[in-house]
């Protein structure tokens, strides 16, 4: 049973690990391969700051809220292990700021210690009159992806550095199941007008005195189009750009100024921070995550694709819940193909 995962970002690697963990013992012939044209540190996941936080509203998409919760709980369970540091996983507290009262988010009971901000705390942020404080998690892609890669390599999963041009290409080589975790470029494999770039630009600075994340919200301009500051292990990420439909991965001077000025207004001490890097990336945005099976007829063969893409700006936040769901879909495929070894004594 040959399974090919397309994409080596957080979605591709975690889906691969989840499937291998659950099925390699049950399917002796399981061969897992990862194909990607970009590996860490050049994936979209590497550019993300790594803060676990869903969008403000799940738009009634309870499934995604459950996947977010599953991911948080899974990561929290790893917090107390010595592996946490290697994974790039750590606890972090911080602020979400608004100019008006807003309803509590779907994730208020998932994170730790969620509460409203006190008047004295709001004094720190002139211009904002309402907000939340909570403790969440950081999962830095630049550590997590190598950690996932190591786990996969230890398990004998093979990696191929190539751009897959079509699902057909893999099936004709004898692959049985394809996991499509190609993020922003899924449209190249199968057109999907619902998948659009949500372009972001960030500035990385040295500001080790910043110990909290600060996310501001402008309900009119939309998610992540308002300044945010997210401290990581080595540097702090300044951001606040979300441009729907913009495919450019070039850094824009205008966006740089917008991010820099707005973040320095938010945290005056940042004026003294040294800029070490700048990056633009495309959030693979979609009205909802595409996580589903697709059976493709190829001659007299039925080829199976499991799609797992369109995680927008919350890929890290939702990744493990989606990986588990993808693994369940894979389990269904195995059952249908009668590939799952039946336990002794269960045959009638």
């Amino acid at each position: 049973m040959r399974v090919a995962v397309i994409g080596a970002g957080v979605i591709g690697l975690s889906s691969a690990l989840c499937i291998h963990e659950q099925f390699h013992g049950l399917v002796p012939s399981l061969e897992l391969e990862v194909y990607a044209d970009h590996f860490t540190p050049h994936t979209t996941s590497d550019g993300a700051a790594g803060l676990w936080q869903p969008y403000l509203s799940d738009h009634g998409n309870l499934q995604e809220t459950l996947w977010n919760k599953e991911t948080f709980d899974y990561l929290l369970g790893h917090m107390h292990s010595a592996a946490a540091k290697e994974m790039g996983l750590f606890l972090i507290s911080g602020y979400n700021l608004f100019t008006e009262p807003v309803p509590d988010p779907s994730w208020k009971n998932i994170v730790l210690g969620f509460r409203n901000l006190t008047p004295k705390e709001l004094e720190l942020f002139p211009g904002y009159s309402y907000g939340w404080f909570n403790t969440a998690l950081m999962l830095e892609g630049r550590s997590y992806l190598p950690w996932l890669t190591n786990r996969l390599t230890q398990r004998g999963v093979k990696f191929f550095h190539k751009k897959v041009e079509s699902f057909q290409e893999l099936f004709s080589q004898g692959v049985d199941v394809v996991l499509n975790c190609s993020g922003m470029r899924s449209g190249d494999l199968q057109p999907d007008p619902e998948l659009q770039p949500g372009r972001g630009q960030i500035i990385k600075v040295l500001a080790p005195w910043v110990k909290h994340f600060i996310i501001t919200h402008n309900l009119k301009s939309g998610i992540y189009n308002s300044p945010y500051v997210i401290p990581g292990t080595e540097f702090t990420v300044l951001g606040g750009i979300y441009q729907h439909g913009n495919w450019s991965e070039e850094n824009s001077a205008k966006d740089h100024k917008s991010v820099w000025d707005s973040c320095c207004r938010l945290l005056p001490a940042l004026q003294k921070a040294k800029i070490v890097d700048e990056w633009s990336g495309l959030r693979p945005a979609r009205p909802s995550v595409r996580l589903e099976r697709e059976s493709i007829r190829l001659g007299n063969l039925q080829a199976e694709v499991i799609h797992n893409y369109g995680h927008g700006g919350f890929g890290i936040t939702i990744h493990w819940g989606c990986a588990m769901a993808a693994a369940r879909l894979f389990g269904n495929i195995l059952q249908e193909k009668q590939q799952l070894a039946t336990p002794p004594g269960s045959r009638l």
């Binding site: 720190l124 403790t135 080595e234 005056p268 001490a269």
Partner: protein, 341 residues
């Protein structure tokens, strides 16, 4: 008295902040800081500088709260300004956890720090040996940045810094009108205060930049305080010990206790091991005194004995001491105008 000459003995956080307050309340004063040690070799440089008050048994609570509140407000404004990183002042959130529920669930300072509340069950589940906890956000004064920033402001205000060991306050009477004693542990010798005793603390300064939250055991013995470049792991509270050199067994013990609370610290590199003697007293001595010897009088303002709580109350005691210096000046001006008659 046109320009009173004030000597401040001691260049830790108490000496420097007191000197600064004096320059602010008495701009006509000429201030000199005298100390055998300056940053990075003071007791303050060893401390993590967390604003979590220590309770002094014999100082009225309202006075301690006033000192803390004043200090917190002062540093809060700096943390929110462009100077924050240079001054080494930053906000930090975290948890204080207890193995058994404390008698006082609400400490006197709970409404001064930010967002003080009891920890949720979910948060406590991270610490199976602890049954109760408090979550809050407070400030940290990162040394040596903070002391260097105070020195810079003092120099800009015309304050002289002088490296000199003062063995007796009377040494200063011919050159200075008023002496301010911020000698910390040095007051034991300097003014022979037998009520002052060391409480030895050993700490590790480690490289662990992924630790963004503080964790403190309510017993005060184990704590993890993330600073700008280093995380301070502690500690010990050895009453009466004067030993300034680190102990290897203690280092191991501190590291193990901290890793039990935060396992990711296993991967942390220990960069320095330091020892400080907390200049401890049943109450902080913020007090005027007039020394007299052979018909000569020397006004003295004491500001020492802050023990484990120096950073937490430094600005409050500094401004009180500066106020007492003002009283000394008035008294001197009063007596000098009487002398002119």
């Amino acid at each position: 008295m046109a320009s009173p000459k004030v000597a401040v003995v001691g260049a830790g956080v108490i000496g420097l902040s007191t000197a600064l307050c004096i320059t602010e309340t008495c701009p006509s004063c000429s201030v000199t800081v005298l100390s055998d040690q300056f940053s990075p070799n003071t007791t303050s440089d060893v401390a993590a500088g967390m604003l979590i008050p220590h309770t002094y048994p014999d100082t009225p609570i309202h006075r301690q709260k006033q000192w803390f509140r004043e200090t917190f407000t002062y540093l809060f404004a700096i943390s929110n300004s462009a100077e924050a990183s240079e001054a080494g002042i930053h906000l930090v959130s975290g948890w204080q956890i207890f193995k058994s529920t404390p008698n006082e669930e609400l400490p006197f300072w709970s409404d001064v720090v930010l967002g003080f509340r009891a920890m949720s069950e979910g948060e406590l589940s991270k610490f199976p040996q602890h049954r109760f906890g408090q979550a809050f956000t407070t400030l940290k004064c990162d040394c040596p940045s903070y002391l260097l920033w105070l020195e810079k402001r003092l120099k800009a205000a015309g304050t002289q810094m002088c490296t000199r060991k003062v063995a007796d306050l009377w040494e200063l009477h011919s050159d200075y009108d008023i002496v301010v004693n911020c000698a910390g542990m040095g007051a034991h010798q300097l003014v022979r205060d037998k009520q002052l005793f060391p409480v030895r603390g050993q700490v590790l300064k480690v490289h662990a930049p992924w630790v963004k939250q503080f964790i403190r055991d309510g017993d005060g013995l184990t704590y993890i305080y993330p600073g700008i470049h280093r995380v301070t792991l502690g500690g010990t509270r050895e009453k009466g010990s004067w030993i300034l050199s680190p102990d290897a067994g203690t280092t191991r013990d501190i590291f193990d206790r901290c890793c039990a609370l935060e396992p990711s610290l296993q991967g942390a590199q220990v960069m320095e091991v330091k020892v400080g003697l907390r200049p401890s007293r049943q109450c902080v001595r913020v007090q005027r005194e007039v020394l007299s010897q052979g018909g000569v009088e020397l006004p003295v303002v004491h500001n020492y004995g802050h023990g484990a709580g120096g950073f937490s109350v430094h600005r409050g005691t500094a401004s009180e001491a500066a106020h007492l210096v003002g009283e000394c000046i008035s008294a001197l001006q009063g007596s000098s105008s009487r002398a002119k008659l």
